[in-house]
């Protein structure tokens, strides 16, 4: 297969990890950037779930199989083990019931990729701790009253949730300034985190 195109680093990490021929569901797939890359470069007939009808229309017009819906209302209708990988990209902080969504991801998928902005990044800590205001940063660019991020979380919080749900972490990636960084001090240094989780 040809090399992957310029993807956002978390998407590139996902695309680089998924083996050819896997069954994949991308939840919150947007305009299908990752789906198209998986199809084009890995021969993977991936499926998508996206809440915004215009983005779904864009995906369909690109020849991708995308269903209009969201993680909470629609995952329940997918059969067990339907996919090798379920992907939830930067959405977990927006859902009503994150714990149940984690369960659902690991029901329909044998493994799941979950990425999110890390609320414990030092910029957040400075804004809140010293500035006394809800942070507005490159990773979380909207002010508190406009953001859809209703359940902000940190790297440590996520690890704890995964453990609470009886799941396990298989791999993790951390990103700052658009680049992957090491695990050392990740809860302070990472703007975004990506985890590959599996059933416990």
């Amino acid at each position: 297969m040809s090399t992957l195109p310029d993807l956002r680093p978390d998407l590139a990490a996902i695309a680089g990890t998924i083996p050819d021929g896997s069954r994949v569901l991308d939840i919150g797939c947007g305009e299908g950037t990752l789906l198209a890359a998986l199809a084009e470069h890995k021969g993977i007939d991936a499926r998508g779930l996206e809440i915004d009808p215009e983005r779904v229309a864009t995906c369909v017009s690109r020849g991708l199989s995308v269903v209009q819906g969201d993680a909470e209302a629609d995952l329940v209708h997918y059969p067990d083990d339907a996919f090798d990988y379920a992907i939830l990209g930067q959405t977990i902080q927006m859902v009503d019931r994150p714990a149940e969504v984690i369960d659902a991801l690991l029901r329909v998928g044998r493994s799941a990729f979950v990425s999110f902005p890390n609320f414990a990044h030092w910029r957040m800590r400075v804004a809140l701790g010293l500035g006394g205001r809800m942070p507005v940063t490159p990773a979380l660019p909207e002010s508190w009253h406009a953001t859809g991020n209703i359940r902000n979380l940190t790297v440590v919080d996520f690890k704890e949730l995964v453990s609470d749900r009886g799941a396990r972490i298989e791999r993790s990636w951390y990103f700052a300034k658009g680049r992957e960084i090491g695990e050392f001090g990740a809860n302070l240094r990472a703007e975004f985190a990506l985890f590959l989780i599996g059933r416990g």
């Binding site: 007939d45 009808p53 229309a57 199989s65």
Partner: protein, 369 residues
């Protein structure tokens, strides 16, 4: 009944077994073809029509002279591009535009009328599969239909797995709802209450046009949305015959513009449609429940399909709602079939699939191509 152009009319070589247990023979299928068939015979887009549609998808209707019912979607460089695809559209059996139906001659040389056997959506697609056999088209690039056409597209995918690479279903349902059966029954009763009905044997005399017009008026309301009707007509009054503007008649003339519009729709319809066909086709839709022969599990109806699916609903369509489309999508997901689904926003109600709904052209073109 319009004469059948022998170039675009074909009689199936074998009798057609029907779901009712009866057999129909001979079976003639009237169809239209737009675009050239590729040498590999692999570029066919099969389009199924809705209740009162016909095979004239992209060419003028012979009775009314109006453009084809999907002229805006099908043609050279249009979303379903006839420079690339060979579009084949048929008139359903039971219809009245050249395919065998209740107005056709029965074995005794007289029109069948109510002696025509009741047909189902599955019978319709079995007949179309028979046409494809004669035309030596094993597999179609895409099977496309809205409303009843969507039912046929799904039945085609389910009954003939492997014969459609893509299936596009617009504003449809996998089963006819109680409310929709009820509306159909109102229409049928209007036809059968007409003084000219004569048990369906009216072809020698006056046709039950008044009843058919009422059936069409009632049905037409269900194709629109309240918001659409309000925007188009509101409570505006008609100009009176004496020239006075917008005055009430204090009688039962068509005072309101919406009344006048419906009457026009009703009477226009009787010039191109046969009342018996209206009965037979509405009955076929009412009987449709794709899961029925699969133990009530819709996913099992798609268990053997190899098609990709795209399901489209319209937010103001209260006849075939988004929930009905989601029901199909869930079943396809359960069956593991590749499926796309989008609910488009449109003011046009059920008619949204026929009109200029934002996003529709891109979805159709993207999926079919």
């Amino acid at each position: 009944m319009p004469a059948c152009n022998p170039d675009l009319c074909l009689t199936l070589p074998d009798p057609l077994p029907l779901d009712s247990g009866a057999t129909l023979a001979p079976v003639t299928i009237a169809y239209q073809q737009y675009g050239e068939l590729s040498p590999e015979r692999d570029n066919v887009v099969l389009i199924f029509h809705a209740l009162t549609g016909d095979q004239y998808v992209a060419s003028p209707h012979p009775a009314t002279g109006k453009p084809g019912w999907w002229d805006r979607m099908v043609g050279p460089r249009k979303p379903i591009d006839t420079n690339r695809f060979c579009v084949i559209s048929t008139n359903v059996i039971g219809g009245c535009m050249g395919s065998t139906g209740p107005a056709s001659e029965g074995p005794d040389g007289k029109p069948y009328g109510q002696r025509f056997p009741v047909v189902t959506i599955h019978d319709m697609v079995r007949a179309i599969a028979g046409l494809l056999d004669v035309l030596e088209i094993d597999k179609v690039h895409a099977a496309v239909g809205g409303s009843m056409g969507g039912m046929q597209a799904m039945a085609f995918a389910s009954d003939f797995p492997g014969r459609a690479e893509r299936v596009l279903v617009l504003a449809s349902a996998a089963r006819q709802s109680a409310q929709n059966i009820a509306f159909h029954e109102v229409g049928r009763q209007a036809i059968m209450a007409d003084a000219n009905w004569n048990g369906g044997a009216y072809y020698d005399g006056a046709h039950p046009d008044a009843g058919l017009a009422v059936a069409r008026m009632a049905a037409h309301i269900t194709y629109l949305s309240e918001a659409g009707l309000t925007e188009k007509f509101g409570r505006r009054l008609q100009q009176r015959p004496d020239g006075s503007d917008g005055a009430k008649s204090f009688g039962f003339e068509a005072d309101f513009q919406v009344e006048s519009y419906l009457r026009y729709q009703g009477s226009g319809f009787t010039r191109r449609f046969d009342a018996n066909s209206y009965l037979y086709i509405t009955r076929a839709i009412d009987y449709f429940d794709l899961a029925e022969t699969h133990g009530g599990r819709l996913a099992d109806a798609f268990a053997h399909t190899s098609s990709r699916f795209c399901i489209v609903s319209f937010d103001t369509d209260w006849l075939y709602t988004t929930e009905e489309s989601r029901h199909i999508v869930r079943a396809l997901n359960a069956a593991g079939a590749p499926v796309s689904f989008v609910e488009l926003s449109s003011p046009y109600g059920h008619d949204g699939f026929l009109l200029d709904t934002p996003g529709l052209d891109e979805v159709v073109q993207g999926f079919v191509s």
